[in-house]
């Protein structure tokens, strides 16, 4: 987790709270370093999701894939300076009213084994 990537993301969403941008302000608020805005966790999901969507075994047509639902659960905010390992799992694939629904879960775990954030992404694969 890099300060500059967090800053870039915070600026892009217009979040100007000092705890996202200034390490001293973050420490004064009780955080080890600048923290990531809540939805920054999606950036950590990107690689796993792209790998999954591009997997020939799954055979998804990217043009038909729509992000349908998003859920996050936070134990604490992600912060700069920590190393996080993320694992993406397909939890369920269902089919109803002509569309496939692909439910994925990405766990983000700190080096000490603490589960920090869980992200559930649900994709709709629109039928022909």
């Amino acid at each position: 987790m890099g300060r500059e990537k967090i800053r870039e993301f915070a600026v892009a969403i217009g979040a100007d709270d000092p705890v996202y941008l200034d390490p001293e302000a973050a420490r004064a608020a009780g955080h080890p370093d600048v923290i990531a805005p809540p939805t920054f966790a999606i950036v950590l999901c990107q690689w796993g999701i792209e790998t999954l969507i591009g997997d020939p075994g799954l055979g998804l047509d990217f043009d038909r894939v729509v992000h349908g639902e998003q859920r996050f659960r936070y134990v604490r905010p992600l912060h700069a300076g920590e190393r996080v390992t993320r694992t993406t799992t397909i939890e369920e694939i269902t089919f109803r009213v002509g569309n496939h629904f692909l439910n994925t879960r990405t766990d983000m775990v700190a080096d000490d084994g603490e589960l920090v954030v869980t992200a559930w992404l649900m994709f709709v694969v629109r039928g022909e």
Binding site: A12, A15, Y20, P38, R73, P77
Partner: protein
């Protein structure tokens, strides 16, 4: 106490900046030609950009950027962003639905663009 309405302006520049910061370069978020080729009226905002703005409304209201412990949305309608200086507007409101045993507040959130709701089942839980 409920979340007062907060309005966010969204322009094409915002979408380009968000694409770079998030790593989501899907061309439906910057190319009218490609957006129309997949049946959209034109370039639409990243769902995750909308979700980020709604989170800003929540953390701004709570007064703590680290307050959100659970956050979910369903993306039901695209936020179309015309290629104009004004772009479009997203209006976010919320009501406190309940309080958990631990004292966390559960907020039901509404995000509208051009008078239409763009999210469903949008809910954030913020720690006491």
């Amino acid at each position: 106490m409920d979340l007062p309405a907060r309005t966010f302006r969204i322009t094409r520049t915002d979408l380009v900046r968000y694409a770079g910061a998030s790593g989501d370069y899907n061309p439906i978020h910057w190319s009218d030609r490609i957006a129309r080729s997949v049946g959209l009226p034109g370039v639409i905002a990243h769902g995750m950009y909308t979700m980020a703005l709604v989170a800003r409304a929540v953390t701004g209201w709570v007064g703590d950027p680290a307050a959100i412990i659970e956050y979910r949305v369903r993306f039901t309608r695209p936020v179309v962003v015309p290629d104009t200086d004004e772009g479009t507007e997203l209006v976010v409101t919320g009501v406190v639905k309940s309080t958990t045993e631990e004292g966390a507040r559960v907020l039901d959130l509404t995000a509208t663009c051009q008078g239409e709701k763009v999210l469903a089942q949008a809910r954030a839980t913020v720690r006491a």
